[in-house]
Symmetry: D2
Subunit: 160 residues, 4 copies
């Protein structure tokens, strides 16, 4: 349904993802990249939990932030990067599972702003899937701004 | 202005915080706990950044989730714990600094629901403070539910 | 999929809707009420527009607030009413059309809190449907509180 | 603190407000316009209430939408108009009063996006002020797009 502007979008998403130190730190994997769609998988680790042993709300928010980002990233031009403008997250159920999946899909892709829905599912050892959180996020396409190199902060401020 | 229901609230907050593996994992410190107010400090680490070297949006969300949680936690009764219901986060500026501060304050503390504002500031080596993100979060007081022990998920579902 | 707790839920929704003066004032019609689902229709009126002749963002918010409310209302017990806790609205396209439809569906119905997605569509004279806004809302079931009679505000404060 | 780009911003705000049919329909008054600050007053009318006689949540959302819009409008260039991108609203207390005040202030004014906080207060006959709702909204400055004349929808779509 969505048409990528960069035919090489999958390689570019994986490459950008691999340059985010946070994703390696938490053990996240970019598992699926299609036009307007993305999935990030996060295996359970005790380090990501809260006091009751559930996935921490902050870990949920982190996973969904990256999920929405790479969902939007699938559709941007080659000479652009993405910035998150805002996000809204509703927790639905405690994060109990052996793997957590962030699943994103584009609601609207505009010239400047892209709206993404990103949902979090907890998958148990037996494959049972639980819908744990849902989020809506707004991202901004930064044309003429490199994803690969250091961005000049002043240049960035004049665009946002 | 706010009156804690548990005179021992500071010890209880620090104790609960120390039982969140995620907080130790990212290197966060519960720096201030007062009635209806809380500050969590997060020293810069490359592991928490995105591709441009800024604090990752997911790290911002994580820090603000914990900040709002412990802000609300300062006011709850002794036999209760808190759950985050939802959060809304606006990114204002890139996270560039040597320390990041999550600062929370209660907007409304109700019997069941508490509304918290949590802001993120980046502090540079020279002490310059930049307002990087603002969030509003809703939390639910779970009376009769332990913060210290494993929570029964079915019991939890019957309350939320 | 959803099971109403009150077999008489449709009559009760229509009755409650008819007691909201705002709905009559703007000319809204409760067009569909099913378990966990609701549709409110709002015919175009110049009084509801902004300076460019589009449906005002405030009118969108108003329609979606009522839509989410009656979506949640379909599932509550007979001796209860609903309160909106919070809502998040993303505008997707200008509101241009002859009728506007608020369409709600429940994402999660909990004992205390219900999460609803409510979308706004603009329908043109030729039947073309445009997705203009999407919202996520949290509502609270107020058990033991009448929908029909005046609510005591102090009683209400002790529950929220 | 904020510097308007258009010295004539107050007249321009009042003029734009007067061209919004919804504001006249609900009886709203643009009571204060300063750089980055705005107040809209809404006298109580039964037509704006819900079934318990309180100000309808939809009326709250409507008042805050307009409040955030004109708060952002105070700072835009002469050849521009504003669009609301998204809003998040937390209801804090029932809307009981003889006048309702929407009070907006800018959190960040960027080149493209402006973040506004808008709060709703209910004022009783005796002058008692109650904080009933708080919202955060994101607005987009549409440069080269008239506030006064009909906007071409296709032109608009290529910018958002």
């Amino acid at each position: 349904m969505w048409q990528p502007q960069n035919p090489n979008y999958q390689v570019r998403c994986q490459d950008s993802f691999s340059r985010q130190p946070l994703m390696a730190f938490i053990g996240a994997i970019l598992a699926k990249v299609e036009p307007g769609v993305c999935e990030i998988h996060l295996p359970y680790r005790k380090e990501l939990t809260q006091q009751h042993g559930y996935l921490h709300g902050g870990s949920m928010a982190m996973l969904l932030d990256a999920t929405a980002g790479y969902t939007a990233f699938t559709l941007i031009p080659e000479d652009a990067t993405m910035l998150t403008v805002e996000s809204k997250l509703n927790m639905l159920r405690p994060g109990i599972g052996s793997t957590f999946i962030g699943a994103g899909q584009i609601i609207k892709a505009g010239k400047t702003l892209t709206i993404v829905q990103a949902d979090l599912y907890a998958v148990s050892d037996t494959g049972k899937k639980n819908h744990c959180a849902t989020s809506i996020q707004t991202l901004m396409t930064m044309v003429g701004m490199s994803d690969e190199h250091q961005v000049n902060n002043n240049q960035l401020e004049t665009k946002i």
